[in-house]
Symmetry: C2
Subunit: 342 residues, 2 copies
């Protein structure tokens, strides 16, 4: 198996990206293609003592897409950026999966336009795994599609369920619909339409639909897959991140206030650090781009070597799982009759 | 000034409601009407030693609306419940404001159908104040209207801004639009339409519109008023509550694990309790129902005496502020031409 990595994407590129790739190569025995400015990447490899590792190759890409770049520039003005080169290598079969910690919008555009979607899937979705007090909940979509139709949400439910089952190892993933109440009639007209479609899919036994789910219940490990339109999914995700950071800042404040606080802080410093890690959204691995015809993973922009290593591990599982085949086999069940194309 | 209180609403009714009312009466010197089963309420008053307080009267209501009741039952099958009686007293001028800790949907329906909306306001909205690391952010709407038009959101912005200014004492409230990115073109078609309307309102100097705001920025005290449709506003609010509870559970876990953790916990027990209070959404007062022709406040369902006392303090400020008059004076600016009625 060969994993293609955009070595120039993310806040800590290329050093940490390369370091993570080197670690993962030795740990998982996988082949790696690092894409980026060849001299820079090779220097990083040398810094890791991996310049002679035959399982790691470098593909040159003279340009880099920045966070401020327009997402579509990955296929227009910045065709030769590391992300675009990596995605073309994936499309052309040079590797089995692609990872980037760069501009999310650009990765989504690039994956859609270069690698293409699975036939029948109308939109790719971003599916991060979130801390939920259990083994993590997969949120789909978390922001790729602000405006959704019922069919899109039906497809998200299937794709999320298959991914959770085969990649995350959840036997019968409990699929919930993000809503503002648990009762069937809650939410918007779209919520009710999707609820009916998912109930039908649940009755057929193809997914395990457990109904509407509220944010509080998600945090209490109430679902394995949370289906949402990209707008409310993103509000949910960002509130989660913001609230966790807010509370941790407040908790930290306690440990800086007075002698007792400082003493208490010293006693449990390592536990608090562990807690912070446990609550960090980025610790739950990269975000899968579901609906693309080959595995693409968005690693967190702030990824360090450890996060990149985790994303590579996740990419390996993604390739082995055959999610794409399963989606393709079930595509007929993911259609809504008479729905206007979007 | 006279405040009408639904003595039977909420998890701790009537004891804590009555106790809170008695405390507020003596502290703020306000007159109070307690609405509920007369014998029960009088017994509670006697328990507080307030049976002879001439500033507190009891209005009998034989029935109580429950959390499981249909919201509209407040004007249909349960016309004689304490909430309905309280709202009719408000409508008829027997008091200046009404507070209930009961069924939120019923209070919203009752206030709309009995007390009525301000002329020109299309929908009442729920506006709680949330912890944000500063003096609190007012969220409008947090769930009354799952489906919104641009006009509704424009009205929420004005109402929230006036309330924040005159009741919460924020001089020039920074009004932000809840969105999934800060740039002007982010979000849905509705987001963009509302952004344009609020930009116009901001340019006229009637509100201080600061643009789109993401959940993380809200938590960093980035806005005083957050405008949202009821669906995403509710997702935001419940995620905030869920995440805070989740993190506090995890923090608590640290203090139960091992000798060092327990010792640290003992050292800062009171600070942790204070922190919990500080993060509690309910500590930031009751939720104002904005758009109703007279002040109505929803106290948290779990309100204790202290929360009821706070809600009464808030109701007094609400009455004194004259928000309703200000909304009425500006109603012409809150209309969107050619918008379909909803």
């Amino acid at each position: 198996m060969k994993i293609i990595i955009d070595a120039m994407g993310g806040d800590n590129a290329p050093q940490e990206i390369v370091r993570g790739a080197v670690d993962a190569q030795s740990e998982f025995g996988v082949d790696i293609i690092l894409v980026g400015r060849e001299d820079e990447v090779k220097k990083c490899l040398a810094d890791c003592g991996a310049e002679d590792n035959l399982h790691i190759t470098v593909a040159d890409a003279p340009d880099v897409i920045e966070m401020c770049d327009d997402p579509t520039s990955v296929v227009t003005t910045k065709k030769h950026c590391s992300m675009a080169v990596a995605l073309r290598l994936l499309r052309d079969g040079a590797g089995d999966a692609c990872i980037s910690a760069g501009n999310t919008g650009a990765l989504l555009s690039g994956a859609t336009l270069i690698v293409k979607r699975i036939r029948g899937i109308r939109r790719a979705a971003l599916a991060p795994a979130l801390p939920n007090g259990g083994s993590g909940a997969l949120l789909i979509d978390c922001g790729a599609n602000a405006e959704c139709t019922a069919e899109l949400l039906l497809q998200f439910a299937y794709m999320g369920s298959f991914y959770s089952q085969s990649v995350l190892g959840c036997e019968s993933p409990r699929v919930g619909l993000l809503n503002i109440g648990a009762e069937n009639n809650k939410g918007t007209a779209l919520s009710r339409e999707v609820h009916a479609l998912l109930t039908e899919a649940g009755a057929s036994g193809r997914i395990n639909f457990i109904g509407n789910i509220e944010p509080t219940a998600i945090m209490e490990n109430g679902a394995d897959v949370v289906v949402a339109d990209g707008f409310s999914g993103n509000i949910f995700l960002k509130t989660l991140e913001g609230a966790a950071a807010f509370v941790m800042r407040s908790v930290k404040g306690v440990f800086y206030s007075g002698v007792k606080g400082k003493l208490a802080g010293a006693l449990i410093a390592s536990e608090l650090k562990g807690l912070k890690t446990q609550l960090s959204v980025s610790e739950y691995g990269g975000t899968a781009l579901l609906g693309i015809s080959k595995p693409v993973i968005k690693a967190h922009g702030g990824s360090n070597a450890r996060a990149i290593r985790s994303a590579i591990k996740q990419a390996i599982a993604f390739v082995q799982a055959g999610v794409t085949d399963e989606i393709t086999r079930n595509i007929e069940f993911m259609k809504v009759k008479d729905e206007k194309n979007v």
